[in-house]
């Protein structure tokens, strides 16, 4: 407690009040995790939680014996990593939302993955225990919580936990779940860059448009934020959920290992040595590693392609935010330990054309911002009138005919938000509809990330296209999505909160986003092909139905002609040339125009109950019949 009073000196009278709320901010990082709290002085302070440091290495070691003490977190765990690489989980955040089949997961990774689970990452550790990334993350949170309680002398029950802006729905849910497992009420998930800006905004009372360049251990985020009178608007976010300082270490470790045999232990040692060398090279021009001289230039050469990978995401975010390149930015905030690397700072300076801000410790800034947010959410009378308006990081949509994605909510939409879309049945008498919720920027279902699938049943059996199902998306202030499907006639409805089993991801978000641009043209072609195929099927079906019920209106020659055009269209749909399909659709249209006119005539005849169409002049026609004629004429054009 003595230490606490020292820190909170300026507003000591409030210290107790502020602390009894026990609402902390937690930065659950890839490499290090931190916990911070706003004290009586109204300022956030990071708490020393591991051997006097505010940084708790996000490393969890599972010792052989069961029971308490068998799980070790932090520096002590990191020290054991080299001896027990398989029982010590580092950078677990990178496995959140990753499949074990992912080549990146296996690359240089010393873990023993438990078998039998399709796609789920599960680590097999000491004593045959099997743990998943959520459980490992919960151990880190539990350690932060109990050590903060020790420091503060009060119970800590509520927390704001930060996540990369890029985390998708599954990863957010997993993080919340980890918080709950650790006995914390998660007040809010906060995007890391937003938290950083919050810390800066309060300290500096900044106004203007800012870029937050966050290069951590395992993730890269770029955010464009607008700050006006204490209100933070997130204008755009982007990034790469699998890029960070760990990659720098690995790049250097590759050099150190060379052609050596790669045992788990040797790999871990190489990575540790590389990490140390990287940190030393921030100041030194060269270091000695494993009896070799590594210069800063050598390191920079190895990591240059990695640093440059951050460029396109930055430019895209600026564009999404409507900020012209080179103008309109008032500052760039650096977040994440990896921004200490001189080559990174140089790159940022050149990219944005200005000297980046780094006044606040880039390792602590996110936790400090989270503490501010926790304070805002729990204080009776908030000391700062600050509000955050966040956006959706990726577009959300639904699967439609032919494996296409219909986007309902575009990326970078301010949340909370909702959107609705009506869908109709495709087949006669269809009583169920599959609702497939997707996330991503690409046009095809197979290229996007599947969030949830469910079936709305109980649709009244009606001819195709008559039953209508309204699907509504609602995204709340945490960025979590719920989906409702409702059939309009009967009111049958179903709602789900998209909550996929944590850590189940088969696609990589950053790949999806980056490739959405590379594949823009390819996607358009694929979409046109599918659109035309769907259209062809519809027309073929209609023609078949009409031939069946009104075939008597045709002479055998006429019928044969239509049928041969139908066959040609069927053939075209087997191919992948959308021009060809379109052309055949038009030919069939043309060949069946006269038939359509006769069918229409017969319909009108029946509608007019016994009157023959011939009795009516155009002028005397009922509005309904007139409309039918007009439609017919248009069709013939």
């Amino acid at each position: 407690m003595a230490a606490l009073f020292e820190i909170s000196e300026p507003g000591a009278s409030h210290a107790k009040e502020a602390c009894t709320t026990g609402a902390v901010g937690i930065d659950l990082g890839t490499t290090n995790s931190l916990v911070a709290i706003v004290l009586g002085d109204g300022k956030p302070h990071a708490l020393a939680v591991d051997e006097g440091s505010t940084l708790l290495p996000s490393v969890v070691h599972y010792a052989p014996q069961g029971g308490p003490g068998s799980v070790v977190v932090g520096r002590e765990a990191r020290r054991r990593a080299a001896d027990y690489p398989r029982d010590t989980i580092v950078s677990v955040k990178r496995f959140m939302g990753r499949s074990s089949a992912d080549p990146e997961t296996r690359r240089l990774s010393p873990y023993q993955f438990a078998a039998g689970q399709s796609g789920v990452v599960r680590f097999e550790v000491n004593g045959g225990r099997v743990v998943n990334p959520v459980e490992v993350s919960a151990e880190i949170l539990r350690a932060l919580r109990s050590r903060a309680e020790e420091r503060l002398g009060i119970k800590v029950q509520q927390a704001v936990i930060t996540v990369p802006a890029y985390f998708d729905d599954a990863q957010r849910q997993a993080t919340k779940e980890a918080g709950r497992l650790a006995g914390l009420e998660v007040l809010r998930l906060l995007n890391e860059p937003t938290a950083a800006a919050l810390a800066y905004g309060l300290d500096k009372r900044s106004q203007g448009t800012f870029a937050v360049y966050d290069l951590g251990g395992g993730t890269f985020d770029i955010s464009i934020l607008k700050l006006v009178e204490g209100l933070f608007e997130v204008k755009a976010v982007g990034g790469d959920s699998a890029l960070g300082g760990d990659d720098f270490d690995r790049a250097l470790a590759e050099i150190l290992l060379g052609s050596e045999e790669r045992t788990p232990r040797r790999v871990r040692e190489a990575i540790d040595a590389a990490k140390q060398a990287k940190e030393d090279l921030t100041r030194a021009e060269s270091v000695e590693v494993w009896g070799r001289k590594i210069t800063r230039a050598r390191l920079e050469e190895a990591i240059k392609p990695l640093i440059e990978k951050t460029g396109p995401a930055c430019r895209r975010a600026l564009r999404d935010a409507g900020v012209p390149e080179g103008k309109g930015l008032d500052g760039v905030i650096l977040v994440g330990g990896s921004t200490r690397v001189p080559a990174v700072r140089r790159f940022v300076r050149e990219l944005f054309g200005m000297e980046p801000l780094a006044d606040i410790d880039p390792d602590e800034v996110v936790a400090l911002g989270a503490a501010v947010q926790a304070d805002l959410l729990t204080s009776e009378s908030p000391q700062h009138d600050v509000l955050l308006l966040d956006v959706t990081p990726l577009s959300l949509g639904l699967e439609t005919m032919g494996g296409l994605v219909e986007k309902l909510i575009l990326r970078n939409t301010t949340i909370p938000t909702n959107a609705a879309q009506e869908f109709t049945t495709f087949a006669d008498g269809q009583t169920g509809m599959d609702i497939h919720v997707l996330q991503g920027e690409r046009e095809l279902v197979t290229d996007c990330r599947s969030l949830a699938k469910f079936t709305l049943g109980g649709i009244p059996p009606l001819p195709a296209g008559l039953a209508r199902v309204a699907v509504t998306f609602q995204v709340d202030a945490d960025g979590i999505l719920s989906v409702t499907a409702r059939e309009q006639l009967t009111g049958v409805s179903q709602t789900i909160t998209v909550k996929p089993s944590h850590g189940l991801t088969d696609e990589e978000i950053e790949r999806m986003l980056l490739s959405s641009i590379e594949h823009a043209e390819e996607d358009v072609q694929a979409r046109l092909l599918i659109d035309n195929r769907v259209e062809a099927q519809r027309i073929l079906k209609a023609a078949e139905t009409q031939l069946e019920s009104n075939g008597d209106l045709l002479s055998p020659e006429e019928r044969a002609q239509i049928e041969s055009q139908m066959a040609a269209l069927v053939l075209a749909t087997q191919g992948s040339d959308h021009h060809q399909i379109k052309e055949q659709i038009e030919r069939l249209d043309h060949a069946s125009a006269e038939f359509a006119r006769r069918v229409m005539d017969r319909g009108i005849e029946r509608a007019l109950k016994g009157h023959s169409v011939g009795e009516f002049d155009q002028g005397e026609m009922s509005p309904h019949a007139k409309k039918a004629y007009e439609a017919l004429e248009r069709q013939e054009k």
Binding site: L187, R188, V228, E229, L231, E233, R319, L376, L377, T378, D385, L387, L388, L389, S395, K407, L410, T413, T414, I415, P416, T417, N418, E441, Q474, D476, A477, S516, I517, A520
Partner: protein, 196 residues
């Protein structure tokens, strides 16, 4: 007029907060036509002061955002979520001139895709071709952009006049649809919008 669920005072349909007691109100029932102008405290108009719109949006966000209701009742938290959702949508609509114009038409009963004249479509194809050529040969695009900007401004002026004096609304709808083409063209000149 509705009644406030808390104090029973009168609340206008577009009011998110009760003018008497300041409590957050349930949103307009689903299926009702929402006047997004009224929601943000503006009259229905094609022209809006963007700075005033931003200001109003921020002011309302400050009061309505779910973060402001973290300690409120479940009912108020739900109202806050729904009202903020409406607010964000209204702001997005009004912020974009083309969307704003479409909403204005919608409020006046004009819906659906307007028919574009073949002459106009031909013209846009030509404009686009010229843009592609200029891009391919590396010519400066300023001249082309200026031409399209002038057309856009003239179109906007005509649409504004029609909407102002209650003229031919379907003509106005077509003009506003043209604005979208112009906007897309200008986006392309400035290298935006290759995605989506």
């Amino acid at each position: 007029m509705r009644k406030c669920w808390q104090c029973g005072g009168e609340v206008a349909p577009a009011d998110a907060l009760c003018p008497s007691c300041g409590k957050v109100q349930p949103p307009i029932p689903a299926g009702t036509q929402v006047d997004k102008f009224a929601l943000l405290g503006f009259g229905q108009s094609l022209d809006l002061d963007e700075a005033a719109l931003d200001e109003k949006f921020r002011g309302l966000s400050r009061k309505l955002h779910p973060d402001r209701f973290a300690r409120a009742s479940a009912q108020e938290r739900r109202y806050s979520l729904e009202q903020t959702t409406l607010l964000n949508d209204a702001y997005k609509t009004l912020k974009d001139p083309a969307r704003r114009a479409e909403h204005l038409l919608e409020l006046r009963g004009v819906k659906g895709e307007p028919k574009m004249s073949p002459e106009f479509l031909e013209q846009t194809l030509e404009d686009r071709e010229r843009l592609m050529e200029a891009k391919a040969s590396g010519q400066p695009l300023d001249e082309l952009a200026r031409g399209v900007r002038e057309k856009r401004d003239a179109t906007l002026a005509e649409a504004r006049a029609l909407l102002g004096n209650g003229g031919d609304l379907s003509r106005a709808a077509e003009l506003i649809a043209r604005m979208r083409y112009y906007a897309r063209y200008l986006d392309e000149v400035e290298g935006r919008g290759a995605e989506i």
